[in-house]
């Protein structure tokens, strides 16, 4: 009795694995062509998008290994998101890695392995697969965060991220092992059946431990303290990857495990996620107000944005339709575009100023008006101002809150609305300094931004503007992803 394996459904994973091995071999045997590995890596990611598209067109759901690995619209939507984010991360990495006398080939191997974990995560419907996918995402990024080996800040970033990552995995595994003990199976469908009965109090604790593990990964308050230091110390492309791709993968894991596994015991997870969401939004925003470094500000802002993404999950049990799930997907897609864009502009500007302090952005409007316009667009989008994509992300969140309509949901909605106002201050502060302050004297030698970095900024800005004006694009995608569920 051999398992039925559909290679078409596994094609994105297979293409990525082959690319990883090719990158290693090319780096080993053709060392005098340093640009070959990055090109190969980005080709591999683009090639992995092709089967995602063909699977989406074919439209049939594939379920393998007794429902442990499922390729449906839900999985494909997130596969697409991860692969596009990976491509943009590669685009912003080229300059930074080539200039900084880093190990080039190994960087791309590790980055792609992390992406492989993400693509697997989207299809996993089983605790073992979800755990392995999460580790495959995290372990390469521990090393990537410390890529600047001679910089003590980068070392600190890697060590903090590693210790917290390992601790959170241990907590999560303990919770998962208890759940396995209760449900007598690791498949989410089995757990869902079990939780429909009347499980004992310990089952709620097991859910609590599992979700706490994920809360570390998505840096939700109060499990966020590693994030600002790690984001600041890691190389900028890695920070962009951590704050977008790795975070999105954590949310996908949370979404999958709640939607397919824990949904019936919403009494256990809804209050927990409610607290995490409210604390993340409030604390993230208040801390972001005080930052003088734009990377640290973006780190706290991403904690706050993570809180917004938790809002629809916190009310999901009371929403009858799929609007809460759709809100998570749509918010993640828009957040990915605007946050990656913001990081790409920060990278382009810091190539000239060699600084990521907010003061070094003063007067950017006169010195480099194109980048100043771009960064203003991303900042206003992150703040949620129409007609940029950010407003639609906020809109889907509030729609889910209204669909739920319970008192807890409304209170959370009010907290979210207040936080959106607070966030406006620090985002607009950056914009104000760029356009109204005098530029400081720049003494350092500028390094021009490459075509790849410009392309990354171009792609993200197009998404932010087009989705802001025609939100139907992402709204339709969200509906398709959850149509059957």
């Amino acid at each position: 009795m051999n398992p039925v394996i559909d290679y078409h459904a596994l094609a994105p994973e297979i293409v990525l694995s082959v690319t990883i091995i090719l990158c290693l071999l090319v780096d080993l045997f053709i060392p005098d062509r340093p640009r070959l590995v990055p090109q190969l890596a980005s080709l591999g990611v683009l090639a992995a998008i092709i089967p995602v598209l063909t699977l989406a067109v074919s439209g049939t759901d594939v379920s393998m290994f007794g429902g442990a690995f499922v390729v449906d619209n839900y999985a494909l939507a997130f596969d697409g998101l991860f692969l596009v984010v990976a491509y943009i991360t590669l685009l912003v990495s080229f300059d930074e890695i080539a200039d900084g006398d880093y190990y080039g080939g190994e960087y791309y191997v590790l980055l792609l392995t992390s992406v492989l974990g993400m693509v697997m995560m989207a299809s996993s419907r089983d605790l073992v697969s979800i755990f392995i996918a999460l580790e495959t995402i995290s372990i390469p990024t521990f090393v990537l965060a410390g890529w600047r080996k001679h910089d003590t800040k980068s070392n600190e970033a890697a060590i903090k991220y590693f210790l917290i990552g390992v601790l959170s995995s241990a907590v999560m595994l303990y919770g998962m092992s208890l759940i396995f003990g209760f449900a007598n199976g690791t498949k989410l469908s089995v757990i869902s059946e079990y939780s429909a009965g009347s499980p004992p109090a310990l089952f709620a604790v097991a859910i609590f431990l599992t979700i706490v593990g994920f809360a570390f990964k998505v840096s939700a308050v109060p499990f966020h303290f590693w994030a600002p230091d790690t984001y600041e110390g890691a190389p900028l492309p890695v920070t962009a990857f951590l704050s977008v791709a790795s975070k999105a993968a954590g949310f996908v894991a949370l979404l999958t495990i709640i939607r397919f596994g824990f949904f019936n015991s919403s009494d256990s997870w809804q209050p927990l996620i409610w607290v995490l969401a409210a604390a993340s939004m409030t604390f993230g925003n208040l801390a972001a107000l005080r930052q003088t470094n734009i990377v640290r500000m973006l780190a706290y802002s991403s904690i706050a944005q993570g809180g917004f993404i938790l809002v629809p999950l916190a009310v999901a049990g009371d929403v009858s339709g799929p609007s809460a799930w759709e809100a998570v997907l749509v918010y993640l897609m828009i957040y990915a575009a605007m946050n990656l864009g913001a990081f790409a502009v920060v990278m382009a500007v810091s190539r000239r100023t060699h600084s990521t302090e907010i003061s070094s952005f003063a007067g950017l409007g006169r010195v480099d008006s194109v980048n100043a316009v771009m960064l203003s667009l991303f900042m206003f989008s992150l703040a949620g101002i129409p007609p940029l994509a950010g407003w639609f992300a906020k809109f889907v969140i509030f729609r889910a809150v209204f669909d739920a309509g319970t008192t807890a949901a409304v209170v959370l909605g009010v907290i979210a609305a207040l936080n959106a106002v607070v966030a406006f201050f620090y985002y607009s502060n950056v914009v104000r300094r760029m356009w109204f302050d005098e530029a400081p004297e720049v003494v350092s030698s500028p390094r021009p931004a490459s075509v790849a970095l410009t392309l990354a900024i171009g792609i993200t800005v197009v998404v932010v503007v087009v989705v802001g004006v025609y939100p139907e694009v992402f709204a339709r995608l969200g509906q398709l992803a959850f149509a059957s569920g």
Binding site: P3, I20, A68, Y103, T113, P140
Partner: protein, 168 residues
């Protein structure tokens, strides 16, 4: 059943004492050796539960590989060896102790509430579940995708370790 109960408690007490030794010891090498006792105790518990294969994997991987790796790590890096009471301790030991006791208490109460009074039925079915054949069949049928992805993960971990360790 009495025999199993007695062996379980002997092992559990030994493991608990050794676990305290791991965190109390002032010498890294002693900590690692205490850890061997804990891990071996876990392996023995697996045998009590008729999970032979997992027990031997525990011995081979944790005692055989992980502990030896710890010892090599201590030996090859400039870690503090011998008695150095300040480096392995810090001011938060009492807070940590309280937290540990609290978690122990809560989990014990809840575990007894959830599983107290249940008996494991050691029939041939249970023994067959822990056999290498059953585990191999699960691994290569149900869990083949995670299994293959783990191999990519190990490759990445290897590459990452080389990058971190390489002199430049």
């Amino acid at each position: 059943m009495w025999g199993q109960q007695v062996v379980f408690w002997l092992l559990a007490i030994a493991m608990g004492a050794a676990a305290i030794g791991v965190v109390r010891s002032r010498d890294v090498v002693h900590s690692v050796l205490f850890l061997v006792v804990v891990l071996a105790g876990a392996a023995a518990q697996y045998i009590l539960l008729a999970a032979e294969f997992v027990a031997w994997v525990q011995v081979l991987i944790y005692i055989g590989a992980v502990v030896v790796l710890f010892l090599f790590g201590v030996m090859l890096t400039r870690s503090p060896m011998g008695h150095d009471s300040n480096r392995l301790d810090n001011d938060q030991r009492w807070a940590a102790g309280v937290v540990a006791l609290l978690i122990f208490g809560v989990l014990t109460a809840l575990l007894v509430d959830a599983f107290g009074g249940q008996q494991i039925n050691f029939g041939p079915e249970l023994v067959a579940q822990g056999s290498p054949q059953a585990i191999g069949s699960d691994l290569f049928r149900t869990f083949i995708v995670p299994f293959e992805v783990v191999s990519m993960l190990l490759l990445a971990a290897l590459v990452g370790a080389v990058v971190m360790a390489r002199k430049d």
